[in-house]
């Protein structure tokens, strides 16, 4: 049902964990839907230097979380903002149709983390 790439990211997730002193944290989903993704970013200048995730969810949820962290590391915030859920799914060689919506929220988590970072900076400034 899942592509090999999905299974690889699911079984060997990249950048799993937390960043205690993260510059931005994004959380999306809710337990009722069966998916919660939490994304932590560390930003230097305008660049995402480090990124980590924690996810409660199915195979697709975990794999997309892992993939988005790979896609985003080293990118500028503007570049990162262009990454969509579709980008993530494509990078994984696609997802089963039924998983396209609910379990494909990783880019949303990323955008939430960036927003969180911007808010925090704004309030500090």
């Amino acid at each position: 049902m899942y592509s090999e790439k999905v299974m690889d990211h699911f079984m060997n997730p990249r950048n799993m964990g937390e960043i205690p002193d993260a510059d931005g944290v994004g959380t999306v989903g809710n337990p009722a839907c069966g998916d919660i993704m939490q994304l932590y970013i560390k930003v230097e200048g305008n660049v995402i230097k480090d990124v980590k995730f924690k996810t409660f969810g199915c195979g697709a949820a975990i794999a997309t979380s892992s993939m988005v962290t790979e896609l985003v590391k080293g990118k500028t915030l503007e570049e990162a903002e262009k990454i969509s859920n579709k980008t993530v799914a494509e990078a994984l060689d696609g997802l089963p149709p039924i998983k396209m919506h609910c379990s494909n929220l990783a880019a949303d988590a990323l955008h939430a983390a960036i927003e969180d970072y911007r808010k925090k900076r704004a309030s500090k400034a």
Binding site: P13, I36, K54, F56, K99, S103
Partner: protein, 389 residues
Amino acid sequence: MKRIYLDHNATTPVHPEVFEAMVPYLKDEWGNPSSIHWAAREPKKAIDSAREKVAALLGCEANEIVFTSCGSESNNFAIKGVADALRGKGNHIITTSVEHPSVLNTCKFMEREGWEVTFLPVDPYGMIDLDQLRDSITDKTILVSIMFANNETGTIFPVEEIGKITREKGVLFHCDAVQAVGKVPIDVKRLNIDLLSLSGHKLYAPKGVGALYVRRGVRITPLIHGGHQERNRRAGTENVAGIVALGKACEIAMRDMDEEVAHITRLRDKLEKGIMERIEHVKLNGHPTKRLPTTLNVSFMYIEGESILLNLDMKGVAASSGSACTSGSLEPSHVLMAMGVPPEIAHGSVRFSLGRDNTDEDIDYVLEILPPIVERLRSMSPLYAKVKG
């Protein structure tokens, strides 16, 4: 790779004796049983004999058995067929909120057709309240459809009491016994069951054959109109090989049930105990004792079921999360929801369902690989992080 199958509620392997019994009807005895020449003779006899074997397992007469193509057809046939035949008498059907989709969605369809349907709630063990059932029956009620045992949790319903109530109130009782046949002794006469569904592939016969017991005297409109097969109750050239297989499977079930159930119960209990001992934050779903010997449904809190299944599958272990039939859906199990299980815990449910070929080694292996899987997934889970503080 090791292959350990713990998903017998989804489907069972074809028993080698069943396979042997059906092969002749795919090779040399392919005749149409309705014909009046040599090619029909053996197939016709084989169907008659299979019908007797199914009837023997259920404690009814052979001509009270109608062969169908699956459990879902049997359930649709029972509900739509009785409703149509009795529509002069009333417009109310009672069922539960934890039925298999083939009952639940049929009842929802009936609602759309103008029928009134009561979906009885269940308690946290998945049990209905008999008083509530009794109170729900009105003079408009024509049918009560309640399953024998739940496919997801294994919870066994108080069928005998339900039969007493329905008989006393003079309404028909349909029982979806797809998961129970062959695992629990069933005597439809003693239990006052009027219609009972079963499905071949849940008891070591192949997919594509099922049956509906229809008590003599119960009026039912066919779901499939056409020729005279099955005494005008189900048209279509008979699936002879499938019917023979179902007959054989029922014969084997009768012969081996006691031994098999003892074996399966012991392994299931070992698995249950092992999981509870080795893993924290595990919740049993379903009734602790009134439960099919085959079934263990547990929620691993803070993680999600599919990701557990995928990990198990990578290690060769087949299990399921909710009914396989509903795996096309992303909703948490309607059964667990009806039992009041919070959605995030429902999402973390895994059903292990055992069968005759499972061994102690199978269970040992699962108990070995499962704790690290759960631990790894929990280490990824933002929910678990909170618990751990």
